[in-house]
């Protein structure tokens, strides 16, 4: 699975949780999930569970804490998928 494929899937999973559609439409690696996309912080755990299911990986608490931007998420998932 290539990084663009992973990013595409990540965006699909994020979409229902996004409250700032405009920022989402122009999202890039530096886009912050909470501040820019206005995702409710409590819902991050649901998003992480969906990532786990979609990519068949396990995401520990440390990985979850480090995933602040779209770029963080894609690179974290790429590493796990490749492993």
């Amino acid at each position: 699975m290539t990084e663009p494929d992973i990013q595409q899937k990540v965006l699909e999973i994020l979409k229902p949780f996004v409250k700032n559609e405009e920022m989402f439409a122009n999202a890039g690696p530096q886009t912050k999930l909470l501040e820019d996309l206005a995702i409710n912080s409590a819902r991050l755990v649901d998003i992480l569970l969906e990532f786990e299911d979609a990519f068949d990986v396990e995401i520990g608490d440390d990985d979850a804490d480090r995933a602040r931007t779209l770029g963080d998420v894609v690179s974290m998932l790429s590493g796990k998928v490749a492993a």
Partner: protein, 442 residues
């Protein structure tokens, strides 16, 4: 016309300016009103109850609500809303819009500090607990519960959800007093407005649809079990062949508002909440966890009339709790004693549960909506399935319409709700007569 009640000022008088309902025989006020006055039952066979081998396999479940919610809420929101909260959200949005109040956009940061909510539930998120919490925790997979579990199972889950939908800034809470929950919520809201602590309160109750919610009642043998193949005939309050109540789900809510606030914004007034009372029989004098102390019930009725500033003779209609258990004859007896009106002088009597089943925590709210509709239309909906009145109720037969009856003088209504724990709630509502000079303005 609408004389000031018990010396209260327009700031202390409480009126109804909006209605919202999600019931088994109609979702939304127009559909509910049509079903109510047509005598249409919402009771249907439930495959989930049959699969669980419950003795009662019929229930009152609102139809097509997931489709409606899908149009109104995001996928992410719906993940966090069990059936109880979905019904509550639909009824709340309808009531708020019916009152002519703005439903804020999600991005709008304004808070309505003058408006609050008391929205109760009897059982709460039992379906979420049974379907998600227990299986996942038992399997050692608690982290799979995600973030949406607590808000669906916490006792205040419904009011919390609605507070956010409507940006309410006054008191937002959920009460719980078993099957008197919905009526108790309305009385609590009325009292807060009277005290000058809020201008308007969204009040009522909701309950989810799940065999997990109903199984405990089935085990108590208090549910209907002899009409599984005739769902429309299963809910039989007042009947001699009543064999238990039919469980139901849904939501019913009223927007309560001070008369001063309603008039200042030119709102359409649907009825006045003249007064109400809640109490508990203390599980004494024949009362218990599951049976009412008749002295408690009668005190509650008399105190509600006193709070409303009306005499017993002014009550034109009683919309009773009347569930179709052995408690129905006792309720009629208590009303007769408290009002000091025997069979020849008894007010009209109706049982909304004959059409929608027993909505537990939602019952008082749904039946309060039915009550306001009856006052508005000066029609009393019939109590179906009681052609064979219980022998002890038969002397009151002339007071019990079996089909919708036009009652031109219908003005003052009393609504009762009783619950496990020996708790009682009685509301007194009055038809709102628009002064002739103002007719047609709204």
């Amino acid at each position: 016309m609408n004389k000031p009640t018990a010396g209260r000022t327009p700031e202390q008088r409480v009126v109804v300016t909006g209605l919202g309902v999600v019931a088994a025989n109609g979702v939304g006020v127009p559909a509910f009103a049509e079903a109510l006055f047509a005598g249409t039952s919402g009771i249907r066979m439930q495959e989930s109850m049959r699969a669980a081998k419950l003795s009662c396999q019929v229930a009152g479940v609102p139809q097509h609500t997931d489709e409606r919610c899908g149009e109104l809420f995001s996928t992410a929101d719906l993940m966090a809303m069990n059936s109880n909260q979905r019904y509550a959200a639909l009824a709340a949005l309808e009531a708020w819009r019916d009152a002519g109040l703005p439903v804020p956009e999600a991005g709008d940061d304004a808070v309505d500090w003058d408006s609050g909510a008391v929205l109760g539930t009897g059982i709460g998120g039992m379906d979420t607990i049974a379907e998600r919490v227990v299986p996942l925790v038992d399997a050692g997979r608690a982290r799979r519960l995600g973030s949406t579990t607590v808000e669906q199972v916490m006792a205040s889950g419904t009011s919390a959800r609605i507070g956010g939908l409507l940006a309410l800034g006054n008191q937002v809470t959920s009460n719980s007093s078993a099957c008197s929950t919905g009526s108790e919520a309305i009385i609590a809201g009325m009292q807060r407005i009277r005290a000058g602590l809020a201008k308007r309160m969204l009040c009522g109750g909701s309950e989810g649809a799940s065999p997990y919610i109903w199984a405990g009642f089935d085990a108590m043998r208090v549910l209907s079990r002899n009409f599984n193949d005739m769902p429309g005939q299963a809910s039989r309050p007042l009947s001699g062949s009543a064999g238990g109540f039919v469980p139901a789900a849904g939501a019913g809510m009223l927007v309560l508002e001070s008369l001063a606030s309603a008039q200042a914004r030119g709102a359409t007034i649907l009825a006045e909440v003249l007064g109400g009372e809640v109490n508990c029989g203390g599980h004494r004098g024949g009362g218990s966890m599951t049976a009412p102390n008749p002295h408690g019930v009668q005190r509650c009725i008399r105190a509600a009339l006193g709070d409303a500033g009306v005499t017993a003779d002014e009550i034109d209609l009683v919309n009773g709790h009347l569930t179709a258990t052995g408690a129905d004859p006792r309720e009629v007896e208590n009303w007769s004693a408290a009002l000091e009106r025997g069979p020849g002088r008894f007010p009209l009597l109706t049982a909304t549960k004959s059409l929608v089943g027993h909505g537990l925590g939602a019952a008082g709210g749904i039946e309060a909506v039915a009550s306001v509709l009856m006052l508005r239309e000066q029609r009393v909906h019939g109590s179906i399935n009681c052609e064979d009145l219980h022998a002890e109720i038969a002397p009151f037969s002339a007071s019990i319409p079996r089909s919708t009856r036009h009652v031109p003088g219908l003005r003052t209504l009393a609504k009762s709700s009783f619950g496990f724990g020996d708790v009682n709630a009685v509301l007194v509502l009055r038809r709102w007569e628009t002064p002739p000079a103002n007719r047609g303005i709204h």
